[in-house]
């Protein structure tokens, strides 16, 4: 089986400081990988390099494109990369307002992604928007409201609907449940798990919340100071951590 994403030896430096370095992994269709580490460990830098928001200084990020198979997304042209980020990729930001257009209605936010891939029929776009708002548990009567009128949890669900409406194959998530209260988090986790299974999505989730990765991620990568220090099955890394830092991380979680 061809990996959906093949990451080889990625490095990104900020001047002489390391953002992240020597990162390599394969991600297969339907797999969810978590990346954990404290702030400053390089996990967001890595995610942004993978998603094309930052250009890494070295390495290759190969994506299994529908037309031509594995292509290095770093060396492909800007229009090609933008097309990928509108179709096969999705990016869920920690702060919904970074991923939404706050002065456009909820339906418009979802419809805009469809129009970017050449949907033109107003009735179809609106019907799909309603369908997706329903899937993320936003009722139809809110379709013409702007996200500014939504709660934080609703904004986050709207962002997910906007991202998934075009049927992406790979979803990047940066702290998708950060800043939400726990009951809203649980609802969002449940939603994401269902969507991952139904759509056979692959996802890369950056978080510092070990409970979130235990529930969502099949595999886990632990980062510290820009380096990957441990990888493996999520429950294996959490139950039998090998590296000193991972042991500290796991043993520092407060038991509820």
């Amino acid at each position: 089986m061809t990996p959906l994403l093949q990451v080889e030896n990625i490095a990104k430096f900020y001047g002489t400081r390391i953002g992240c370095t020597d990162v390599s992994f394969d991600l297969y269709p339907g797999e969810v990988m978590g990346i954990v580490g404290e702030s400053g460990s390089g996990k967001s830098t890595l995610l942004n390099c993978l998603a094309g928001h930052l250009t890494p200084d070295r390495g290759a990020v190969r994506f299994d494109t529908r037309a031509d198979g594995l292509r290095d997304t770093i060396t492909m042209s800007e229009p090609e990369r933008r097309m990928l980020s509108r179709t096969d990729w999705a990016f869920v930001h920690q702060h919904a307002r970074d991923g939404l257009r706050m002065n456009v209605s909820a339906g418009g936010n979802v419809g805009e992604r469809l129009m970017a891939v050449n949907a033109r029929h107003y009735g179809d776009i609106r019907a799909q928007a309603i369908d997706w708002l329903g899937r993320v548990e936003i009722t139809e009567d809110r379709i013409d409201d702007r996200p500014t009128a939504f709660s934080g949890g609703m904004q986050q669900r709207l962002q997910i609907a906007r991202n998934l409406v075009t049927g992406p194959r790979l979803v990047f998530m940066d702290e998708p449940t950060g800043g939400l209260d726990v009951s809203v988090q649980a609802r969002l986790l449940d939603l994401l798990r269902g969507l991952v299974r139904e759509m056979n999505l692959s996802a890369i989730i950056v978080t510092h919340d070990l409970a979130v990765v235990r529930l969502l991620a099949d595999r886990l990568m632990v980062m510290k100071d820009g380096h990957v220090i441990e990888t493996g099955l999520t429950d294996q890394v959490l139950d039998d951590p090998q590296h000193a830092y991972t042991q500290l991380l796991v043993s520092s979680v407060l038991q509820v």
Partner: protein, 227 residues
């Protein structure tokens, strides 16, 4: 079906003076189709450790753990994920689920993950929950709020939903009343009859004697404990 060959393991605790604690040395065990083997030994001897090594949530330092043709000790994460989905089931002592997911969905999930249609999966879940005496009015609720015994029965229903060829059972009858205990024992018996290879930990000695064909004393492979 399950073949553990000369495995060993130690824990290295970096944050406690880099203490290295050997916990398992040279253990070998074979379980054939339709066979049930009980892990026995004093508390702390390594029964759960061995079981977790077989399931792959503990790393194995040396030796092989073959489940069918997959070596859990060296397999890549995605191979272990597939093994757990299609071949190797595990009924743990504690239920760990996403909050807010209904009991029916929790039980049906292993079937949905292996491609069973939703209606059929839910129907099978209903049969199992009925058999384990979980009242129907609880089925749409999340099991996180259930009593200990109810949670354990939901866990068992989930573990038996898909007919795995290999199954690990960690104290499946603890905290069950006599009726439910008998139900669980007959479910284990049916799994054996279907050809499932089973490894279990039972503090319930009567249950162990009733359903297990062999006992495997892990104490013999515990460094510092072996006589």
């Amino acid at each position: 079906m399950i073949s553990v060959e000369n495995v060993s393991k130690s824990f290295v605790l970096h944050n406690q003076g880099v203490a290295e604690i050997p916990v398992m040395q040279g253990a070998s065990l074979k379980v054939g189709a339709g066979e049930c083997v009980a892990l026995v030994g004093a508390s702390g001897a390594g029964k759960s450790t061995l079981m977790r090594m077989i399931y792959g949530n503990y790393l194995t330092a040396s030796g092989r753990i073959m489940i069918g043709d997959v070596d859990v000790a060296t397999a890549a994460p995605r191979d272990i994920i597939r093994l757990r989905r299609e071949t190797l089931g595990y009924v743990s002592q504690f239920l760990r689920v996403v909050p807010r997911v209904s009991t029916l969905d929790v039980v049906a999930e292993p079937l949905l993950a292996t491609g069973t249609k939703r209606d059929a999966a839910v129907h099978q879940a209903e049969i199992l929950l009925t058999r384990l005496n979980i009242p129907e009015r609880l089925w749409q609720l999340s099991p996180t709020t259930f009593s200990g015994g109810e949670q354990q029965r939901v866990n068992i229903a989930r573990g038996f939903a898909f007919p795995y060829p290999a199954l690990l059972l960690d104290e499946p009858t603890a905290s069950l009343d006599p009726t439910n205990r008998a139900t669980v024992l007959s479910m284990v018996g049916e799994a054996k009859a279907r050809g499932t290879a089973i490894i279990g930990i039972f503090h319930d000695h009567a249950a162990r004697d009733e359903i297990c064909d062999h006992q495997f004393d892990v104490t013999r492979f515990t460094p510092g404990l072996a006589a």
